[in-house]
């Protein structure tokens, strides 16, 4: 296929950016979206131009590094990560717009790369358990009811990619934060920090300058791991419970 790409180019965090147009040819429908960008970059390097910077690591949909807004959709038209998106989702002759995640809490570092360390700080605020766990424990040592295990697992699927923030009209990190809180708060291992976790993580989320939820639902539509919108409801419930308990103390 032959494609026209309009790519956000920005030299560094302080520079102004703009969309630049490139033509790529001989793109196979079986290529991943990132392989298509590799093709573009090889050509740019041969021409002595600066290749397009974009984040990627595992290229198998599990690390959450890849982060492209493709034609206005975080991770593009399919419900998957940018690395797992294939060129068969596009037509020969298409023009494709490629932009970085947009949120004031995710400043652009270069081209399509944004700084997502705000997510790391939310995790540092409470997205862990303090119990020393050592090596993997015997699976039946701590019984977990099946529905709770399923619930925890569903939320544990979040790969921290930030597509939810990119898609949200308010640049909110509610879906990510709720996934982490729900994952740990439902498990016995997470119980000792159940209240401080939600209070501290929500406070950090606000501190980082993310917006709030208006239930637009764009996050859950963009999420490659299918974290549901109702996850945010669950976080609100945990937050209100923790606030009530803290008020009694």
């Amino acid at each position: 296929m032959k494609l026209t790409l309009r790519v956000w180019r920005q030299r560094n965090a302080d520079a102004d950016g703009a969309m630049s147009t490139y033509e790529v040819d001989d793109i196979s429908a079986d290529m991943s979206f990132l392989e298509m960008l590799d093709t573009l970059n090889e050509e740019l390097i041969l021409k002595g131009e600066d290749p397009v910077a974009f984040d990627h690591d595992c290229r198998e949909g599990i690390c959450g590094a890849c982060s492209l807004v493709i034609n206005g959709d975080a991770h593009g038209p399919e419900r998957t990560t940018s690395c797992q998106l294939h060129m068969r989702s596009f037509e020969d002759g298409d023009t494709i717009d490629i932009e970085p995640w947009r949120a004031s809490a995710f400043p652009v570092v270069k081209d399509l790369v944004v700084d997502r360390s705000a997510f790391d700080r939310i995790i540092q605020a409470g997205g862990y358990v303090t119990a020393p766990t050592g090596a993997a424990p015997e699976a039946h040592a701590t019984p977990v009811p099946k529905p709770d295990a399923d619930f925890a697992f569903e939320h544990a699927e979040c790969i921290g990619c930030g597509a939810c923030v990119a898609a949200c009209p308010n640049g909110a990190a509610m879906l990510f934060t709720s996934a982490k809180i729900n994952h740990l708060n439902v498990l016995p291992q997470g119980a000792p920090e159940r209240e401080t976790r939600v209070l501290d993580m929500v406070a950090q989320m606000d501190e980082e300058g993310f917006g709030g939820c208006t239930l637009a639902g764009e996050c859950a539509t963009a999420c490659p791991k299918g974290i549901p919108l109702v996850s945010i409801t669950g976080m609100n419930k945990e937050w209100l419970r923790a606030t009530r308990k803290a008020g009694k103390r």
């Binding site: 717009d97 308010n170 939820c213 208006t214 239930l215 609100n236 606030t243 009530r244």
Partner: protein, 223 residues
């Protein structure tokens, strides 16, 4: 606890949901009361008088009404201030728009903000029109709400303002009631359909019930 509430985006949203539900509860009662206009001026005016005597003899004349007014003003202020502050935070969190625009994004959020502003302006006009009489067309008579209502809905602009505001109210309640369930943490996967249905029914009944009055005056059913 009050500080934690107001300082957190989640807490502030709780204030918005709670104050919204207080206003919603009031509006359901208000709408039902308004429908008494279809039973004639005696019954309607008597009902309006009764509102001032609720709680007597324990409460003094009009005390109950003033308590309701104070609660409502507090709710409107809390709702509008939290909506304003949260909206500012949201806009600051997403300063750069995508070059590739998509129409559907943020439809509900925009309707809520514009709808909220329309409702805020409407509330001011409505009080100046039918409570204080300041901007009332024709001679405003205290204690004769039936005639006042007919005067208002005998002007084209009275009907337009009122009907537009009630349509905005319907849209606001439709997203707002369901949102409040999520904000207050009572929504769930199994209850989602029920909350959406209640929200739609509430929105429809409120809008239709309120609009029935100007339509009644316009068609001469109420005169």
């Amino acid at each position: 606890m009050t500080r934690t509430m107001w300082d957190s985006s989640v807490g502030k949203k709780t204030v918005m949901a709670a104050s919204g539900l207080i206003m919603l509860g009031y509006l359901v009662v208000h709408m039902l009361g308004n429908l008494k206009i279809f039973f004639g001026s005696d019954e309607f005016n008597h009902y309006a008088h009764w509102l001032r005597t609720i709680g007597e003899p324990f409460l003094h004349y009009e005390w109950a009404l003033w308590i309701i007014r104070v609660v409502l003003v507090a709710a409107v202020v809390a709702h509008a201030v939290s909506a304003y502050q949260l909206s500012r935070r949201d806009i600051r969190a997403r300063p750069t728009k995508y070059v590739h625009k998509k129409p559907r994004a943020s439809y509900a959020t925009r309707t809520m903000r514009w709808g909220g502003i329309i409702l805020g302006l409407f509330i001011v006009w409505h009080i100046l029109d039918l409570t204080t009489g300041t901007v009332h067309p024709g001679g405003f008579q205290h204690g004769h709400p039936y005639q006042n209502v007919i005067d208002t809905f005998s002007t084209w602009y009275g009907n337009v303002i009122y009907i537009v505001a009630m349509l905005a109210l319907g849209l606001h309640v439709r997203h707002g009631f369901w949102s409040a369930a999520q904000t207050l943490g009572v929504g769930s996967r199994t209850r989602d359909r029920a909350f959406k249905t209640i929200a739609n029914v509430l929105a429809l009944v409120l809008t239709a019930g309120f609009i029935a009055v100007p339509v009644g005056v316009m068609t001469g059913v109420v005169s």
